[in-house]
C-alpha cells in the first residue's frame, strides 16, 4: 500500500522492519497524519465503536465456543454450564449476548449518520455499499447466534425465519429443507448454524477491511458535506480523533457495562430460558429487538398483489417514471403526475380493501377478480428483503448534489421522520399482529418504502440547491451567512 518514498525511523528495529515491510509507514500515514475533517460531531464516533464491538464479540465468542456444545440435546445445558460452572462464564456470556445488541445500536447510529449527512454519495458509493453488506452479514450472524442456546425463542425464531424461504414459488420448500439440513428443524440445523456463526464474523472482518480501505481512499465525509479543500479544513487523525474516539467509545462502553452487569437479560426474551420444545409453540414469537422493524414490515403484508394493486402499482410507476429519467425538475409536469397518482391511489385502495376481511368475515369491498396472485407471505418476504436492498441502491436513487441534511431542509424533514417511522415499526414488530397495530405497521411500512423509492428521487429533482459554505474552515470559523436559494 505504502510504496514510493519512505521516511526513515530512528528506532533501528522499527527501521529494519519498515524498510522490508512498510507497516509502520502505513500506520503513520493512515492513522497518524491521516488528514481528517476537523468538524466531526460525536456521530462520527460510531465507526470506531462498531469496530470495538466487533472485536469484543469475536474475542468473547471464541472463548464461549471453547465451552459450548453444538448438539440439540446438549446445547441448552452447555450454556447453563457456562453460566454456572465456567469461571466468569456468566460474564463472558452476558458480554456476548448484550454485545450483539450494542453492536447493532452502534451500527444503526453509524448507518443513520451516513444517511443524514449524505455519506453514501459520490465518491463514497462503494464505501456505503460495503457497509450495507456488513450490516446484512451481521444480521445473518446475529440470527444464527441467537439460535445456538437452543431455547424456545431460538428454536421458534429459526422456525419462522427459515420458513420465509418457503414463500419462493416452486423451489421454496426444497430450499427450506436444504437450509435446515432435514425435514424439520433439528440437530443438523444447529450444527450448521454454529459453523456459520463462527465463520461469518471473520467474513465481516474482511469486508470491514475493504470498508476502511475504501474510506481511506475517499476520506471521510463530514457534517457540512463539503470536501476538505485546504490544510485548514483538516486535522491529523492522531491525536485529535484517536482521543475523541477513545472518549466516545468509553462513554458507550459505560452504558454497555450497565446492561451487562445490572440488566443482563432485559434485551432478551424470558422464553429463551425454556429449553427448545418442538411441540410447544410460544404464545408470541418475537425476534430480538434489532430485527423488529424488519419483522413488522414482513407482517404488514396481510394482503397480496391482486389485479387492482397491480394496475395501481403500474400507474404509480408511470407517474413516477420521470423521476428516474435525466429530465430536470422543471421539465417534469407535476400536474400530470398528480393526475395519474389519483387513479393509481384509487386502484391501490381498491386492491387493499377488496382483500381486507372485516370482523364479520366479509370483505370490506366486494369486487370481481380480487384474489391475490402473489400471496401475502411472498409479498412480506420480498418487502423485508427489499427494505435492505433499498439501502444498497440508495447511492443511485439520490442524485441531489448536496450531501448533508444541514443544507437540505426538505430531505431533513423526511429523514428525521424516518427515525420516527422506524421506531413505530419497532414497536409494531414487538406487538401481536392484531387490532390497530396492523394498519399502523402498514402505514409505517409504506412510509419507509415511499421515502426511498419515491421521496429520494423526488427530492433529487425538486429540492432547491442551496449555496454551501465555501469550505469546512469557513463554516467552522463563522456560521454560514444567510443561505440564498437559487432559482
Amino acid at each position: 500500500m505504502a510504496s514510493g518514498k519512505r521516511e526513515q525511523f530512528e528506532n533501528p528495529v522499527v527501521e529494519w522492519v519498515d524498510s522490508r515491510l512498510p507497516i509502520f509507514t502505513m500506520m503513520q500515514k493512515e492513522y497518524g497524519v491521516f488528514p481528517t475533517p476537523k468538524n466531526f460531531n460525536y456521530f462520527w464516533n460510531f465507526g470506531a465503536i462498531a469496530m470495538f464491538m466487533l472485536i469484543t464479540m469475536i474475542v468473547s465468542g471464541i472463548v464461549l465456543a471453547m465451552h459450548y456444545t453444538a448438539h440439540s440435546t446438549l446445547a441448552f445445558d452447555s450454556v447453563e454450564h457456562i453460566m454456572r460452572d465456567v469461571y466468569y462464564g456468566w460474564l463472558l456470556r452476558y458480554i456476548h449476548a448484550n454485545g450483539a445488541s450494542f453492536f447493532f445500536i452502534a451500527v444503526y447510529i453509524h448507518l443513520y449518520r451516513g444517511l443524514y449527512y449524505g455519506s453514501y454519495k459520490k465518491p463514497r458509493e462503494l464505501l456505503w455499499i460495503l457497509g450495507v453488506a456488513i450490516f446484512l452479514l451481521m444480521m445473518a450472524t446475529a440470527f444464527m447466534g441467537y439460535v445456538l442456546p437452543w431455547g424456545q425463542m431460538s428454536f421458534w425464531g429459526a422456525q419462522v425465519i427459515t420458513s420465509f424461504f418457503s414463500a419462493i414459488p416452486g423451489v421454496g420448500e426444497s430450499i427450506v429443507v436444504w437450509l435446515r439440513g432435514g425435514f424439520s428443524l433439528d440437530n443438523p440445523t444447529l450444527n450448521r448454524f454454529f459453523s456459520l456463526h463462527y465463520l461469518l464474523p471473520f467474513v465481516i472482518v474482511g469486508v470491514v477491511f475493504l470498508h476502511i480501505w475504501a474510506l481511506h481512499v475517499t476520506g471521510s465525509n463530514n457534517p457540512e458535506g463539503v470536501e476538505p479543500k485546504t490544510k485548514k479544513d483538516t486535522l491529523p487523525f492522531h491525536p485529535y480523533y484517536t482521543m475523541k474516539d477513545t472518549f466516545g467509545l468509553m462513554a458507550f462502553v459505560t452504558i454497555y457495562a450497565v446492561f451487562v452487569f445490572f440488566f443482563p437479560n432485559s434485551l432478551g426474551h424470558a422464553d429463551n430460558y425454556i429449553p427448545a420444545n418442538p411441540i410447544v409453540t410460544p404464545a408470541h414469537i418475537v425476534p430480538e429487538w434489532y430485527f423488529l422493524p424488519f419483522y413488522a414490515i414482513l407482517r404488514a403484508f396481510t394482503f397480496g398483489v391482486n389485479a387492482y394493486l397491480l394496475v395501481g402499482l403500474g400507474l404509480a410507476a408511470v407517474a413516477f417514471y420521470p423521476l428516474f429519467t435525466k429530465k430536470k425538475g422543471s421539465e417534469i409536469s407535476l400536474i400530470l403526475m398528480a393526475g395519474i397518482m389519483v387513479f393509481s391511489g384509487a386502484f391501490l385502495l381498491a386492491g387493499y380493501f377488496s382483500q381486507l376481511e372485516l370482523d364479520s368475515g366479509a370483505k370490506a369491498l366486494v369486487l370481481p377478480y380480487s384474489d391475490a396472485f402473489v400471496d401475502a407471505k411472498l409479498c412480506g418476504v420480498l418487502a423485508m428483503f427489499g427494505s435492505i436492498a433499498l439501502l444498497f441502491v440508495l447511492p443511485f436513487l439520490d442524485t441531489h448534489p448536496v450531501r448533508s441534511a444541514r443544507y437540505r431542509p426538505w430531505f431533513k424533514i423526511g429523514v428525521l421522520l424516518l427515525v420516527v417511522d422506524v421506531a413505530i415499526l419497532t414497536v409494531c414488530g414487538a406487538k401481536p399482529a392484531e387490532g390497530f397495530w396492523v394498519p399502523l405497521s402498514q402505514v409505517s411500512m409504506l412510509y419507509y418504502m415511499g421515502f426511498f423509492v419515491v421521496g429520494i428521487p423526488f427530492l433529487s429533482k425538486f429540492e432547491p440547491i442551496r449555496d454551501l459554505p465555501k469550505s469546512i474552515h469557513q463554516s467552522v470559523l463563522a456560521k454560514p451567512q444567510k443561505i440564498v436559494v437559487k432559482g
Binding site: 460525536y42 482521543m243 475523541k244 477513545t246 462513554a251 450497565v258 452487569f261 445490572f262 404464545a283 429487538w289
Partner: protein, 253 residues
C-alpha cells in the same frame, strides 16, 4: 453527550418492549426484594426457608436439576450442614466394577434428585401437564420473582362462565388463567424454626427468593463487580474527556 442520552433512551424503550408483551395485561404484584437494585443481595435466612419450602412442597413434582448440594454454601450453610442435607437423598450411581447400577447416599457433589425417573413419567403422573424444572424458572418467566410470588398466591375461584376441567385450576397470573398445578401452599404447611409467619404469603415469598438465587447464583458477584466496573469507567471517561478538551483546545472553533 446528547446522543449518548438519546441512545440510552432508545435502549430503555426497547428493553421495555418484552415486558409490555407479558401476561394478558394483568399487572404483577410488586414485592420488595432484598436482591432488587444495583446493591441488592440475597437474604440467606429467606433462602434457607425457601429451600425448606422447595424440599417439602415443590420437590414432590418439580426437579431442580441444575443445583448441586455444594451450591447451598451460598445459602450460608457450612460443609457439615451441606453433607447432612445431601445425606437425606439417595441417588443412583454406577455402573460399578461388576456392571451394576446401585443406590447410594447423595454427596455435596450431587445435584438435587429428580422426583420422577424421566419426563414421560412426570407428565403421566400429572395428568399430562409436565411440571417444569425450577432451576431457571425466574429467568424463564417475565416478571421473575414477582411472577412466581403472584402465581403462588394468585389462586382464586374461576369467574362465572369459565369452565374448568378436572385437574384444572384458575389463577389470576397464569397466562390464560388456567393452570394444571393445584394450589401448592396452605397456611402452616411447612414449619419454620426462626419464628417467621407460617403463611401462604411468607412461603411464596421465601420460595421465590430461593428460586431467584437458583436461577441467578452469580447475581451478588455480578452486581459487586458491576459497581466497580461502572465506577471505574465513569471516572476514566471523565478523565478522557478532560484530555480530549486539552488536546482540542488549540483547534480554532
Amino acid at each position: 453527550m446528547k446522543h449518548f442520552l438519546l441512545s440510552l433512551v432508545v435502549i430503555v424503550s426497547f428493553s421495555s418492549a418484552p415486558v409490555l408483551a407479558s401476561n394478558d395485561g394483568v399487572s404483577l404484584p410488586h414485592g420488595h426484594w432484598s436482591f432488587d437494585g444495583a446493591m441488592g443481595t440475597y437474604d440467606k435466612a429467606a433462602m434457607q426457608r425457601g429451600l425448606k419450602v422447595y424440599q417439602n412442597v415443590c420437590a414432590s413434582c418439580h426437579s431442580l436439576k441444575r443445583i448441586y448440594f455444594r451450591n447451598l454454601a451460598d445459602l450460608g450453610y457450612n460443609e457439615a450442614q451441606i453433607k447432612t442435607i445431601a445425606g437425606e437423598y439417595t441417588v443412583e450411581d454406577g455402573p460399578n466394577g461388576e456392571g451394576e447400577m446401585y443406590d447410594r447416599t447423595a454427596r455435596p457433589s450431587d445435584a438435587f434428585v429428580n422426583p420422577y425417573a424421566n419426563k414421560e413419567a412426570a407428565t403421566y403422573a400429572n395428568s399430562g401437564a409436565f411440571p417444569p424444572d425450577l432451576s431457571l424458572i425466574t429467568k424463564a418467566r417475565s416478571g421473575g420473582a414477582n411472577y412466581l410470588f403472584g402465581l403462588m398466591t394468585g389462586y382464586d375461584d374461576a369467574p362465572e362462565g369459565t369452565e374448568l376441567l378436572d385437574n384444572q385450576y384458575w389463577n389470576k397470573y397464569m397466562a390464560g388463567h388456567v393452570i394444571a398445578m393445584p394450589p401448592p401452599l396452605s397456611d402452616g404447611l411447612v414449619s419454620y424454626e426462626d419464628g417467621s409467619p407460617e403463611t401462604i404469603e411468607q412461603y411464596a415469598k421465601d420460595v421465590s427468593h430461593f428460586l431467584t438465587w437458583a436461577a441467578e447464583p452469580e447475581m451478588e458477584q455480578r452486581k459487586r463487580m458491576g459497581l466497580k466496573v461502572v465506577l471505574y469507567l465513569l471516572i476514566f471517561t471523565a478523565v478522557l474527556y478532560g484530555v480530549k478538551r486539552r488536546i482540542w483546545a488549540n483547534v480554532k472553533k
